[in-house]
Amino acid sequence: MADTLVPLQRTHPLDARPSLTEATVGAVRVVDVSAQVQVRAAVPGPAADALAQVIGAPLPTRPGTWTPTPAGGRIVWLGPDEWLVVDPSAPSWDLEARLRAAAAPHGGAALDVSGQRVVLSLSGEHARDLLAAGCAVDTHPSVFRRGAAAQTLLGQAGVILLALSDDGTDYELFVRSSFARYLADWLADAATEHRTA
């Protein structure tokens, strides 16, 4: 039977929202990331060191920050012993296995959450206005610029918000995949004035 079937296709909750970018006047785009792995380790400590070794960069210890990885990904601070490792190309279960193998012997942990959240980029002149429509965190570039991260609410959805630029025009949003359509609809609705202006 298998030979009559096409290979397993990956789907994305926002496949059903093909006009999201258009509806937000170019502000919102779906970002395709291959792997997201949540890692846990005490810092400083051997588990954190072992994880850093695999990632190729140390885990950021300042709350509310993210740092880039050599693979072009990101390490996002989620808690005092918790990070989200984002990789643009590695197979997710593979990355989990490598990170878990490094951390588990030292009491750390790693788990594949690549399907747990989807990633949106939010950019351009309206980016901050869209955030201000439903996010209580101050995104002024003087206090929230490249390297800043916040786990907070946008509309009624929990998000991880990353600042990618120093001028308030480039952000990334991580949202749980079950909330992705709600957030997409919310963003499209928030952009109504930008669309009609």
Partner: protein
């Protein structure tokens, strides 16, 4: 006093002739046409409904709520207690003030008697909100506010300047002041232009800060398109709520003029003196042709002089004080305006419009003494069509008070003033009781400078423009404090304290007579201050009247509590965009669109959309569910169980933590095995249940109920983080990571085998019972994608759960559907899931339990470990209350008639021999034994059945009980909750 009708003044004026030839802020090149009370009027852009109507000589707006007395325009802004209108076009909007509604082409409005009418069609306008963070929030763009904002802007601070009017200027809009020798409004224009160019300044007009809350949080409503009517741009929100978080706030919200209460003080044409001045200077409108000005203080003289200069015949200025201010007495004399000191207005004449003010010597004896000195003296009637009143000024202390700032009564002003400096909120200008222009400007700038320097910012001072010299203080007189002018005949029943509520001095006297003392109680007894204006003009007067009647100091009486909103805010505005499909997030699984295609009928489970059933053509829920149940029990069914909560538990102490939180042992579970578990609160009551997979020596996957997902993770974290932080264990939600599909029924092995067995998958799984036992799991891959299969059954049937990365879930689901086609695989929804589990007596936590049910009550003593020394809830099982024989147990109920579907929630009583529900009046309440928790029709049993919590239920198995259903008693047999396959023979296929 007789009610002699005199409409001479109004009829004498042709419509439109009350507009001054020049002047005012209205745009005389932009006429607008609107309809009020069925009559078409023309005004100008920049007019309010009130100013445009006054320009046409229309004073009466509506009638009062209880007495039906005519009501007019009482003021020029939101303090107006009386000009309530209903906007009909462009969209019905009740309870607005003519004095704040801006006119536009096509506006249709009517006056309303105290209450309006909500639209009976959906509001198609958009409403939204914005968060705004600033160093300094300045409330009010009058002189003090502008100076504060300029200071903050030049200092480089992040600033919000919010003002409720259509343009900046505040009191300067209604006056003819000069600043630095130029018209003050030129200074305003320069300030506005400078603020517009400052990058970190948000300056919004038509934006009312209506509430100040904790930690520098303020809410404001911006009326963005209301004034544009039909010309409002498509897509622009009509109103916007600004959620401002300010490190410091300067309140420069101005002051409200205060009326004096006297008999028949509610007639149209009676207006606050300063408001008439605003109508003149701002709108170019004369509020009447023949005016009497009644005052207790100097400020109303300005109105008298300005109106006289503009051509109004000022018939008299009546001042309660013995000595008039020298400066103003000269000005009046120069204009030939008669001045009457030590006199008061004691009544009025007129019906739809005031026609005369009745003036008599002022009786200082006051209310408490009753009317004496003026008794018998016939008041003098002075003809007028406009009666201007000033009892002094009330600083707008609302926001300071909302922020829990203390107030104190200032006897000189006769008003309550901020009595303390709050840490993050300062008050400046007339809101702080400062009334001369120079001081207001200075105080605005100084407040901003103080606030900014407290924040550690470098302050750039802004020079204060110089205002015209004030009359020397030697030529002014201290204000008089007059709340009520006693009625000469002692009748206080037409002395209106709250004009909107038709509440009078008599009502206050009645309240005090009933023993009430606090203004809070008097407010609720009399309804004073409960209308749209929340007592802006009546509140302090009420405190004053109470004080006077009780012989107490106003300070001791105090005020009612100032609460948000400052002015009314529509619910639609507060709801913003959280309505329609954005009202509550809709959570979807990866298979959602497939369910849509399959015609699923939805059930909302928390925020999730779950298929409830999939009707075929012509099926209702009952037939669809019977079909779906039959398929799962005789063929194969498939459910999207992706909404189940899933928690990854990792770390060397993972088993230890689970042992402490589950009632049974989890650490003894072998890798590759699955165990059902129950969690209880410390009180021993069941809070959640589900299966646990041991994924590795140091890793478990915990499955929770759909509704319990977030709560249980938080619960586990709470114990781990707060009680046992030493445990090396890490918890995380993987609910959306893993899709979960139960494939259920005697043919499920065929389907699972076809997709994942040796013939279906590259590393095929042996799905035989020997190789893949019940409550075990195995990992495999499909096209390289990891898949986990688990023999878990929530139906009692042979069943697998298929777990896969949700990104590949739809593809795997479609494989299963395709592979199941030969067996007529049937997708089923939550309703069938519920029936299947109930037939097996599996409880749904939260439906069959309610937070008072132990595992033992559910008949699940087997899930409670006897070996573990402790776990959360264990100690409570030994409590006497939890040992009682008559606790409610989960049992099955079978209606004896094999017909009746017992409504869930039905009460259960003892079996009655006569089959008749006894009358409560004869026997008293019938003892309740419990209630029905779940009830369904069973395709398998071919009869309806139910689960129920029944007192001492397990001992009653085999007994008959009665369930009242719509007035008749339905006999039910108590059974074990397990009605299908009690031996468990079906689960292995």
């Amino acid at each position: 006093m007789s009610e002699t009708t005199s409409t001479t003044a109004t009829t004498a004026q042709a419509r439109g002739s009350f507009r001054t030839p020049t002047g005012g802020r209205v745009d005389r090149t932009s006429p607008v046409t609107f309809t009020f009370a069925g009559v078409e009027h023309t005004g100008y852009r920049g007019d309010t409904l009130a100013s445009a109507l006054l320009a046409d000589g229309v004073h009466q707006i509506g009638t009062s709520i209880k007495l039906g007395r005519p009501r007019g325009v009482g003021a020029a802004w939101a303090e107006d207690p009386s000009s309530l209108v209903q906007v009909e076009e462009p969209f019905p909007d009740p309870m607005l003030l003519a004095s704040t509604v801006e006119v536009f082409d096509g506006l249709v409005a009517d006056g309303v008697p105290g209450q309006g009418r909500l639209a009976d069609i959906a509001d198609s306008a958009r409403y939204d909100s914005r968060h705004l963070h600033v160093d300094l929030l300045v409330v009010g763009a009058g002189p003090a506010g502008l100076q504060a904002a300029l200071t903050a802007a030049r200092s480089g601070a992040r600033v919000a300047l919010l003002d409720e009017q259509s343009e900046a200027g505040g009191s300067l809009l209604g006056s003819d002041e000069l600043l630095d020798g130029r018209p003050a409004l030129e200074w305003v224009a320069d300030a506005v232009a400078e603020l517009a160019a400052a990058p970190e300044v948000v300056h919004l007009q038509r934006t009312t800060v209506f509430g100040v809350y904790d930690d520098g949080f303020a809410l404001a409503v911006e009326r963005r398109t209301d004034h544009l009517g039909g010309a409002a741009p498509e897509g622009t929100s009509r109103q916007r709520v600004w959620r401002v978080r300010a490190r410091r706030t300067v309140v420069a919200a101005g002051a409200h003029e205060r009326p004096v209460v006297f008999t028949d003080n509610d007639r149209p044409g009676t207006m606050l003196a300063g408001s008439a001045r605003t109508y003149l200077h701002r709108y170019g409108v004369l509020a009447g042709s023949r005016a009497v000005v009644f005052t207790t203080n100097d400020s109303a003289y300005r109105a008298a002089v300005d109106l006289a200069d503009a051509g109004v015949h000022v018939a008299a200025v009546v001042d309660t004080r013995d000595v008039a201010p020298a400066h103003w007495a000269v000005e009046l004399e120069r204009r030939g305006v008669p001045l009457r000191t030590a006199q008061a207005v004691v009544g009025t004449r007129g019906v739809e419009r005031v026609s005369a003010a009745l003036v008599a010597p002022y009786d200082r004896a006051g209310l408490a003494a009753g009317a004496r000195s003026s008794a018998g003296v016939e008041p003098e009637a002075i003809e007028c069509d406009l009666l201007l009143v000033s009892g002094g000024w009330n600083p707008a202390v609302h926001l300071h008070s909302q922020a829990r700032g203390k107030l104190a009564f200032d006897a000189g002003l006769g008003a309550f003033l901020p009595a303390e400096r709050l840490e993050d909120l300062l008050v400046a200008g007339s809101a702080a009781g400062t009334f001369d222009l120079s001081s207001c400007l200075r105080q605005g700038g100084a407040s901003a400078a103080t606030a900014l320097s407290e924040l550690g910012l470098d302050v750039t001072a802004v020079p204060v423009p110089s205002a015209a010299e004030q009359p020397p203080s030697s030529s002014s007189s201290a204000p008089d404090l007059v709340w009520v002018v006693p009625d000469p005949s002692g009748d206080s029943s037409r002395q209106f304290v709250d004009v909107q509520r038709d509440a009078t001095v008599a009502d206050v006297q009645r309240a005090l007579g009933a023993g009430l003392r606090s203004p809070e109680h008097v407010k609720r007894y009399t309804t004073i201050g409960t209308a749209h204006d929340q007592g802006k003009t009546s509140g302090v007067v009420t405190s004053g009247i109470i004080a006077e009647l009780l012989g107490a100091a106003p300070d001791a009486v105090g005020t009612t509590t100032f609460r948000p909103p400052y002015t009314p805010v529509a619910f639609a505005t507060l709801a913003g965009r959280d309505r329609g499909q954005l009202f509550d997030p809709v959570r979807t699984t990866s298979v959602h669109d497939w369910h849509v295609q399959a015609g699923a009928v939805w059930e909302d489970v928390g925020q999730w959309k779950r298929p409830r059933y999939y009707p075929l053509a012509g099926e209702d829920m009952e037939t669809a569910v019977l079909r779906e149940c039959a398929a799962a029990r005789t063929g194969v069914g498939i459910l999207d169980g992706s909404t189940l909560g899933k928690i990854d538990v990792q770390g060397p102490d993972a088993g230890v933590l689970l042992d402490r939180l589950y009632t049974n042992l989890m650490s003894s579970l072998a890798v590759g095995k699955v165990r059902y578990g129950v969690m209880c609160g410390a009180d021993g009551m069941v809070i959640d249940d589900g299966t646990v997979l041991r994924v590795a020596e140091d890793r478990f996957l915990v499955m929770t109920t759909t509704g319990g997902a977030a709560k249980i993770l938080e619960w586990m974290e709470e114990w781990h983080q707060t009680e046992w932080p030493e445990l090396r264990v890490h918890l995380a939600s993987v609910t959306e990571q893993w899709a979960a599909f139960p494939v259920v029924g005697p043919r499920s092995r065929d389907v699972i085998g076809a997709v994942f067995g040796a013939g279906g998958s590259e590393d095929g799984v042996d799905v035989s019972n020997e190789a893949f036992g019940f409550m075990t799991w195995q990992d495999t891959t499909l096209d390289g994608v990891p898949v986990r299969l688990a023999r878990i059954s929530f139906s009692g049937e042979l069943a697998w759960e298929v777990h896969v990365d949700s990104r590949y879930a739809l593809a795997v689901w479609e494989r299963l559907i395709a592979a199941g086609a030969p067996y007529a695989i049937t997708p089923y929804g939550t309703e069938t899931m519920h029936v299947l589990r109930a037939e097996k007596g599996y409880p749904i936590i939260g439906q069959d339990t309610d937070g008072t049910v132990t595992p033992q009550d559910l008949g699940m003593a087997w899930v409670v470990s006897k070996k573990k020394p402790d776990f959360v809830g264990k100690r409570s099982f030994a409590r006497a209350e939890n040992q009682r024989e008559d606790r409610k147990h989960l049992v099955g109920l079978l209606p004896v008639d094999r017909e009746t579907l017992l409504p869930e929630g039905s009460q259960i009583i003892e079996h009655r021999e006569d089959g008749v529900l006894p009358s409560v009046s004869e026997t008293g309440p019938v003892p309740m034994l419990g209630h029905v928790t779940s009830s369904y029709r069973s395709a398998y049993l071919e009869r309806p059945f139910a689960l129920a919590l029944v007192k001492g239920g397990r001992a009653r198995v085999g007994e008959l009980l009665h369930v009242p259903v719509k007035g008749r008693l339905v006999a039910v047999e108590v059974t074990s909750p397990v009605l299908v396959d009690p031996e468990g023979a079906r689960r292995d296929g």
